[in-house]
């Protein structure tokens, strides 16, 4: 496994260390030294590595499908090195359980397209993990340069099962059952077990040849052979002619291409239409946010509660790498589709429940970083969010302020008072147990962690927009992944 990563030059560096997720494949290791990510290629992978670099690598990089790297003269981190690579850094590492339906689908199609292109060059992917795909400028890119091996005529694809578990099963469940089933990937880090997917899918999916063969029968064949051990496997399993393998991959591609999910009827679907902002106030708020961003000039921004990314684009349009988080799969999906239409931008829509953000997962809880371990970021933006955390989720204001302090250096935050109709809506039908929820209470709570730089009432509304700066010295970015 691999992780190309960012370097904002603020980590406390404790000497070179392999990344915690980079231990499965003996072909190489990813490590960090002085805040820079390197990949070591090992002697055991020499033939495959040379095979990749001969013709496939430039072709894939040119298409924007594979992350480019520079071969550098650097000290290896372990024995057996034949090359040290410095991959192009990825601004923010995200995980499949944080993607929208179309993000996962595009990552699946990219993986299959790479496998088909590799076969044409006499190479093959030896794994098909969704964690090998990241997003760069709004598009998926494959980051594991050591996932390629020489193709042997007649050999089956060893990554077939992994592909079905990481991509096909979650996509089918999202499209045919419920989009929220994506979250099964949080529990099953090596993809959703096919027998589980098969049980959850509706009966009618048995009538689709693709679903029947790649999911339902696949699950049953797996079970039938689960106890026969590796004897047959070591002999190479059955022979799979290249033409047949290409046919299988193209069939799989058509099946995934056909899976669709339409974002409709979820909680924020029409949020912007329903807010109590007039067109004029909305424009004023935009101008104000833009002005704050210009003054802050952050190196990176997290828009928390970004909805479909209207305000996130104010940052990404300024060239600021922007992560647009939202709890609603429909909003994230709409944001991603719009981004795909608009073309390359340093924007990344992601699914996140702020009341229960992505935790550290995998071996020793270190393989996949939690949200805060991927920060802190330069600036966090929280527009029309605080009332949801404080009132819908009962989080006391000082705890909200402390969380933001851990997340970011600067804060662009909107306070929505009780008099606002949106808060009234949240309070209707429940007891008001929030005596401290007012502007003074809000400022007092946040001033424990931040200094208020600007405070501007948004004309035509009861709301106030703040720019705050962390009061205590800068936190060092966590030195790991």
């Amino acid at each position: 496994m691999s992780v190309a990563e960012r370097d904002l030059g603020e980590r406390v560096d404790a000497g070179p260390a392999p990344l915690p997720a980079s231990f499965r494949d003996p072909a190489g290791v990813v490590f960090r030294r002085d805040g820079v990510i390197y990949r070591q290629v090992n002697e055991v992978a020499r033939a495959d590595w040379e095979g990749l670099m001969r013709g496939l690598y430039p072709r894939l990089v040119e298409k924007g499908w594979l992350i480019p790297h520079e071969e550098v003269e650097a000290e290896p981190i372990g024995p057996g090195a034949i090359a040290i690579l410095r991959p192009e850094p990825i601004p923010f590492i995200s995980y499949p359980y944080e993607w929208s339906f179309s993000q996962l689908k595009d990552a699946a199609l990219l993986t299959l397209d790479i496998q088909l292109a590799a076969l044409a060059e006499g190479m093959s992917l030896k794994d098909a993990s969704a964690y090998n795909v990241q997003f760069r400028q709004g598009r998926p890119v494959f980051i594991d340069t050591l996932s390629f091996e020489a193709y042997v005529e007649g050999r089956p694809w060893p990554a077939y099962r992994q592909f079905c578990q990481h991509f096909l099963a979650p996509l089918a469940l999202m499209a045919k059952v419920d989009v929220r089933l994506l979250q099964l990937l949080r529990v099953h880090l090596d993809g959703i077990p096919l027998d589980l997917a098969s049980r959850l899918l509706p009966r009618r999916t048995w009538w689709s040849y693709g679903m029947l063969s790649h999911l339902h029968l696949h699950a049953r064949v797996q079970r039938a052979y689960s106890e026969t051990g590796g004897d047959r496997q070591k002999r190479g399993g059955g022979r799979v002619p290249k033409l047949g393998l290409i046919g299988l991959l193209e069939g799989l591609r058509r099946l995934i291409e056909k899976l669709e999910w339409k974002p409709a009827g979820t909680e924020w679907g029409s949020y912007y239409e329903e807010t109590n902002y007039s067109e004029e106030s909305f424009a004023k708020k935009r101008a104000l946010v833009d002005e704050f961003l210009a003054a802050i000039g952050p190196e990176e921004l997290w828009d928390l509660g970004a909805n479909t990314g209207v305000f996130s684009r104010l940052a990404s349009d300024r060239g600021i790498p922007t992560m647009a988080f939202d709890i609603d799969p429909a909003a994230v999906e709409k944001n991603y589709r719009r981004l795909r239409q608009e073309g390359p931008a340093p924007l990344l829509p992601l699914l996140l429940d702020l009341t229960n953000p992505s935790p550290g997962l995998g071996w020793a809880g270190d393989e996949r970083d939690g949200l805060l371990a991927r920060g802190p970021t330069g600036c966090a933006m929280a527009l029309a969010l605080v009332h949801h955390l404080a009132i819908s989720n009962n989080v006391p204001l000082p705890m909200i302020a402390a969380f933001f302090r851990r997340a970011a250096e600067h804060l662009v935050i909107e306070f929505v008072p009780k008099e606002d109709s949106q808060v009234q809506r949240l309070l209707s039908g429940r007891e008001d147990i929030f005596p401290d929820y007012h502007q003074e209470g809000f400022e007092a709570a946040f001033q424990r962690e931040f200094t208020i730089e600007r405070r501007v009432a948004i004309e035509g509304t009861k709301r106030t927009l703040y720019w705050m700066r962390a009061a205590s010295p800068r936190i060092a970015r966590k030195e790991t992944r």
């Binding site: 089956p156 079905c164 696949h218 039938a224 052979y225 496997q233 190479g236 399993g237 047949g244």
Partner: protein, 76 residues
């Protein structure tokens, strides 16, 4: 029963050793043999069907298609 059926359906003759760092799963390897066989049969059936149509003159032979394409390009 499932074992017997699958054993009968899958292609014969193993290929080299499959030493992946990832466990490919015996069932997944065997299934690929079957699905690849079906995919190839489908392609062959399609080609065979096309030949029948050509033979029955329900469809022009591939050469004349190419010629037509070339002449229509010239006309443009």
């Amino acid at each position: 029963m499932m074992h017997v059926m699958l054993a009968l359906m899958q292609g014969q003759g193993a290929v080299g050793g499959l030493f992946a760092y990832l466990d490919p799963g015996t069932g997944s390897l065997i299934l690929q043999g079957i699905l690849a066989g079906i995919a190839m049969s489908a392609v062959m059936l399609k080609m065979f069907w096309r030949r029948i149509l050509v033979f029955l003159r329900l469809r022009p032979p591939p050469e004349s298609l190419a010629q037509e394409g070339a002449s229509s390009e010239k006309n443009e």
